[in-house]
Symmetry: C2
DNA sequence: TTTTTTGCAAAGATTTTGCACCTTA
DNA sequence: TAAGGTGCAAAATCTTTGCAAAAAA
């Protein structure tokens, strides 16, 4: 049986009563290739080359969000971007540079356990979380003329 | 000298070459009163009662964001909301219910220190961070017919 | 009095929709 | 062939702008 990420997408979509179509796969691949959060506008132009209509992108993102294929992330200046979530990508956190807007992934383990511990006994049922750290990346705080 | 939050806002705005106006104060108060992240649309209607124009809300949020009076937060379904940041509000994290969308603040200490530790030696200059935890609030996972 | 802010209403963008046609399962 | 998905273009929304009048410093 298929063990690829795309195979898993196919299974997941079908399980949810959705179809595995060429357009959906193209959108999925664009997100996988980008390997960082992508704003809708950027995603639209990325897949436009493959002939995917923008209405399809909006509709697909809504579905992907509903079935947990993607999640939204806030970039600098309040721009919303989309990225794949586990198991389509690794669980990680973000470092967002407030100067240049670059986003880099951070391994999540260290923070995760502290986070879990801090939620014990709250009566809240934790399903997932997002940690975004903001500051200056190396490039932006390195001395320059 | 003034020690109130509004006094501080006044000082901050002036320091940044911005003016302390009635409309800006109204918007600030609406956010303070809400005491939780407010989507733009909601903020617009809240202050509309006080006669604040919607263009003013957009312009003010942009300035408040620039001078760090507010920050953006992502609610369920990718809705962007605004909330005051320290020292205008306490530093905290969010718990967002994936069922009903309710947001509640969580004390931040426990996670913060783990977070700081995890960033040591990365070469990144941390300025702030956001931690959003998603799951089901008590109401939503309490047994019901 | 100088500089910024605001209102208004129009312009521009972004998203959503309806419906006929095409695909997947 | 039944249930979804997609394209298209219009409609509905949401945001931004220009400019003249009003307000802050």
């Amino acid at each position: 049986m298929e063990r690829t990420s795309e195979g898993h997408l196919k299974t997941l979509l079908r399980t949810q009563g959705l179809r595995f179509t060429p357009d959906r796969l193209r959108i999925f691949r664009a997100l996988a290739d980008a390997d960082k959060p992508v704003p809708v506008a950027a995603l639209i132009s990325m897949v436009a080359q493959d002939g995917v209509n923008q209405a399809t992108v909006y509709r697909t993102l809504e579905q992907f969000l509903a079935v947990q294929v993607v999640q939204t992330v806030l970039l600098k200046d309040g721009i919303v971007a989309y990225e794949l979530v586990p198991p389509f990508s690794s669980h990680h956190h973000h470092f967002i540079c407030l100067d240049c807007g670059a986003v880099q992934d951070l391994p999540a383990e260290r923070v995760d356990s502290a986070l879990d511990k801090s939620m014990e006994g709250t009566g809240l049922r934790v399903m997932t979380h997002k940690v975004d750290i903001y500051g200056q990346c190396e490039k932006c705080h390195t001395p320059s003329p």
